[in-house]
Subunit: 420 residues, 2 copies
């Protein structure tokens, strides 16, 4: 029989009792930030549950991890604490459990309607790394920028390529994105372009939130890497293609990316995703031993991007992709990241890179979807090569269970004009 909560959850909700994703919120503006989990149209306030003494397991009893303004302390505690919290909360929210269900005063305090809350970044993100783990994306970028001769660099099949991203400009879903200004390639006989980006793009990504980190000099074994990952969020790695194209040789993307990166507020745990795990597919050439996994897993997470063009009431779906299209798994990404001794800290963010599928309608960014502006998209009758001011980009992602969804909610942002 399917597990059910006494909290009413619509069948198309992303947040049934099977999910219980973690976020940080303020119940009202000005109040203290605190952790919560989403259940249907409510947020369960974990500081209230802590103060009521309802985390009564061996690890979490007496802990103040949910009295913090972020999840970092809980993230550092590791999988045994995460499993205990999940068990406690699934029991507490179950239809058959009277503790919270029949205590109207506590219920009133603990369950806050989601439309009233302000969601915040779930963790202090010390470092943000962005990978390049979709082969289809790597291939398309190579075809667009370098042509059909060896579109994918030879190193790509041997290691999960990545770069360090900018942590300070990571924002929560719903934050406006200010169109960046910067330099673009010189045109014939003139200097570089300078002004608002003319090729503003989204990138459909997901990102892993790191749990316990590792000490400097102590790599994480790839077969233990999953215990260092708390869960996943949706991520939009906004990109200014003209700025990026001019600046990125030889040290990689910098200002073409660092003006803003949006993440969804709810971290869906690997424990909730476990039942949607699927085979990651064979890697050829076989990875070096430090990247060879006993079990190589992806997750079957349907991803969708909609654009609501400036001035329009309705949004259009522009792509449908899936997390399972990644070539390098998140556990391989994490193990590779630490093989040189680099230390990860709780709350670090590891982006997957753009998740493109094999078909043109599953490409994960406008660069690919419009083939660098050569094939504009039609959205409700209006054409787009790249994003215009006022356009809103909305990501969703979910796994389909038997009679329920385990979803990520939305990751959205609207483009506003460059400052004068």
């Amino acid at each position: 029989m399917t597990l059910k909560s006494f909290v009413e959850v619509q069948p198309d909700s992303h947040f049934p009792i099977q999910n219980l994703p973690y976020g940080v919120f303020r119940p009202e503006s000005g109040s203290t930030a605190r952790p919560g989990v989403a259940i249907g149209d409510y947020v369960l306030d974990l500081s209230v549950i802590t103060r009521a003494g309802l985390f009564d397991g061996l690890i979490l009893k007496g802990s103040d991890c949910f009295l913090q303004p972020n999840l970092n302390k809980f993230l550092a505690m590791g999988r045994p604490a995460w499993k205990e919290a999940r068990a406690t909360l699934q029991k507490l929210l179950a239809a058959s459990e009277p503790t919270l269900r029949d205590n109207a005063t506590l219920r009133q305090k603990a369950l806050v309607p989601v439309e009233k809350v302000e969601m915040l970044l779930p963790a202090v993100i010390g470092d943000y790394t962005d990978f390049f783990a979709s082969m289809h994306h790597a291939k398309n970028c190579g075809l667009i920028f370098r042509g059909p001769q060896n579109p994918i660099n030879p190193n790509w099949f041997h290691l999960p390529i990545a770069y360090h991203g900018r942590a300070s400009s990571i924002v929560i879903s719903g934050t406006d994105i200010i169109r960046p200004r910067g330099q673009g390639h010189p045109t014939a006989n003139s200097g570089p372009y300078f002004g608002p980006s003319l090729k503003l793009d989204f990138e459909l990504e997901m990102a892993a939130i790191v749990g316990p980190g590792n000490e400097l000099g102590r790599p994480v074994d790839v077969n233990e890497a999953a215990d260092h990952i708390f869960g996943l969020v949706l991520m939009n790695d906004w990109s200014a293609r003209d700025i990026q194209a001019w600046e990125y040789v030889p040290l990689g993307p910098f200002l073409g990316k660092s003006f803003g990166t949006t993440i969804s507020p709810w971290i869906v745990t690997l424990d909730a995703l476990e039942q949607f795990a699927c085979d990651a597919g064979k890697q050829d050439p076989p990875p070096l031993p430090y990247l060879a996994e006993k079990t190589s897993k992806n997750y079957d997470i349907s991803l969708e991007v909609e654009i609501k063009p400036a001035g329009n009431e309705d949004s259009c779906v522009v792509t449908r992709s899936n997390f399972k299209h990644l070539y390098w798994t998140v556990t391989q990404q994490l193990a590779h990241h630490t093989i040189n001794g680099c230390n990860l800290r709780p709350g670090d963010l590891l982006g997957t890179g753009t998740i493109s599928g094999p078909e043109p309608d599953s490409y994960g960014c406008l660069l690919e979807l419009t083939w660098n502006g050569q094939k504009p998209l039609s959205l409700n009758g209006t054409a787009r090569k790249f994003l215009e001011d006022g356009d809103e980009v909305i990501f969703t992602g979910f796994c389909k269970g038997d009679g329920f969804l385990v979803g990520f909610g939305k990751c959205s942002g609207k483009i506003v004009p460059s400052p004068r």
Copy 2:
């Protein structure tokens, strides 16, 4: 007449009363971290000075900025607070001023012998960015990796190229550096190399510590950028050239750098460096308006690198360079960093990139000094292409005043073997 302190300062000390660099220290192991300034062979404990009520200026009176375990709060306060603190401390430490000089109890508490203290990272570093601002370094890297046709990429002369570095692995001078393991280029007919790096290098850099940051979407004007820089430190951006060479296309350096970055503990303020400012030299082509400075300044800071080879008692100087060799100024670096709206936060670190001078004996890394291993260096009769386990690398830097030095002390680290 030269300003003098009642604290005895040797003429070759880096820390006379003209300097007063800021750091964070523990007076003894296990005690609380607190800010201090260096004076001769002592550290002045700023928490003691605060508690004694001696910061009596308009801005700092009653402030708890020096009761913090890092400098971030003080950094955020900006130049007026920094100038006030400097004036207060120069007065308090002056030979003619009895307040501290004649109070044996307070002096005993406030002045801690530097050999007793443990130095810590001076600030929480939210993000670390590394530039590529020396033309000589850019040219040499281009010649080594791409050959004599256009060794410097066309974008280099139009913008200060940079990449995001790894903040978590920044360590304080004196911390051992564990040789990273990783992948290197495949050799003929075999897969990529995997193992301890065979081309471990130092990079002679300096780095700016950001003071007040800027809001997302609000670029800093290049002519106001100096007010966002508190001061400079020495920095060794350790690099594994074999890992870097294989991984860096197309997204830039990642594991070749992220295993460790060492900074010196004392932040020398721009106010202390002001009298060593010099003309930054003409830029051709002229920079775009957002990078065009009314006054374009560098600082005349002599830099020196010594290597103490494994098993040797003595160290050898391997290069002498100068901060003034930078093409792009630190203020241009900062303004460029924010032109796209990227936000900087107090404590952020902006590395200059390797500071190579024009002559072969002023190159800032072994890659250049040994021309990628082709011309080994002789150190006390032992040869080095790259660093070996047990080698210690020591940077120093100072400005020469009239009868005194304003220096940075040392930035050192020893290579220890990869874990088994």
